[in-house]
Symmetry: C2
Subunit: 198 residues, 2 copies
């Protein structure tokens, strides 16, 4: 990716923040960048092509961020991942970008390229979660009767639901964070409260 392409991708991000996905046009992206509309067309022959590349770059960055999630134990890593996906988002300077990404999700059924890319995001998250949970079971940290696939799927669904509710109905992300964290502490760790009372 050369400098112009990098500039176009960054201008696309700023345009999404400002206008949302429905109003994303090549004209507006050009206005947000240092480049002419012709230069943008030279690099990307259509808005769809440009947007696909934008999602690919976003995906690469997302996978890097998932890889950077660290912690001594599997539970620490899982907590760090929930913090990244839920708690940290509350402080995101560009809430409008998250709104735009919900618009993009709603467009996925109409656009195969978008659907494919969004599936890749989901798959990256599930596979990180699955690995952390399996590591925790191997280390004797998580209950060995937990099914890593099922637990990773539930947490992924919960995280996506938290994002949707946060944007659509302003449901506080820290509620979702607490709920997901309690799930990890009780179900995965096997610290079910009933053990205390039985």
């Amino acid at each position: 990716m050369n400098d112009s392409e990098q500039e176009i991708i960054e201008a696309t991000y700023r345009t999404l923040c400002e206008y949302g996905y429905a109003n994303l046009t090549m004209r507006r992206i050009a206005d947000e960048s240092e480049l002419s509309k012709a230069t943008i067309h030279y690099h990307y022959d259509s808005k769809d092509r440009l947007f696909k590349t934008f999602l690919e770059r976003l995906y690469e960055r997302y996978v890097d961020r998932l890889d950077e999630v660290s912690g001594e134990t599997a539970r620490d890593r899982l907590e760090a991942l929930l913090t990244m996906e839920l708690a940290d988002r509350e402080a995101d300077p560009c809430i409008n970008f998250q709104t735009a990404m919900l618009e993009v999700r709603a467009q996925a059924p109409y656009n195969e390229d978008i659907q494919e890319m969004l599936s890749a995001f989901d798959e990256a998250l599930i596979s990180s979660l699955r690995e952390m949970i399996a590591d925790g079971i191997d280390a004797g940290e998580f209950d060995n009767s937990v099914d890593p696939d099922l637990a990773a799927d539930l947490l992924t669904t919960t995280i996506k639901g938290a994002h949707t509710r946060h944007i659509a109905v302003q449901h506080p992300l820290d509620h979702s964070y607490r709920a997901a964290s309690t799930y990890v502490d009780t179900y995965l760790l096997g610290e079910n409260p009933s053990k205390v009372t039985v």
Copy 2:
């Protein structure tokens, strides 16, 4: 609500199924109904006003369906609710309507009336779940250290996430159903697998 209004609301549903939310117009609603565009304008002076009424009717029907969820025990009722929200949707004849409703969610940040109505849907679901969970605790069926607010919030978030993933990335609803059901069986019932191994 008189016959014409009822007819307009039903035509709005069919129009959403066929064209999605982005392409919903008074013209198309008129074409789907037995009524003229002028008659529709007589009842609703704008598309936004009509759509708000549509969401209100949908909400009333949703609350009725929640009230109809029945079962002998709290757990049975919770299972029936998960079946209604997750398992049954797979067989929905109008998948496009669910797609349109995801578009509507993405519009909520831009439209206060829509956001208010969608919050009411969320609140109705949470309050049904909270009541079922609290009933189950009172009856000694669910673990008494479960926090009904937190558990109802997690299940609501999971259900909304399941809907979003189903539409956006074609994630099978029965996976989400299984994951949510396992959560109920282990966390709420206190049948944590660790109890067997401890």
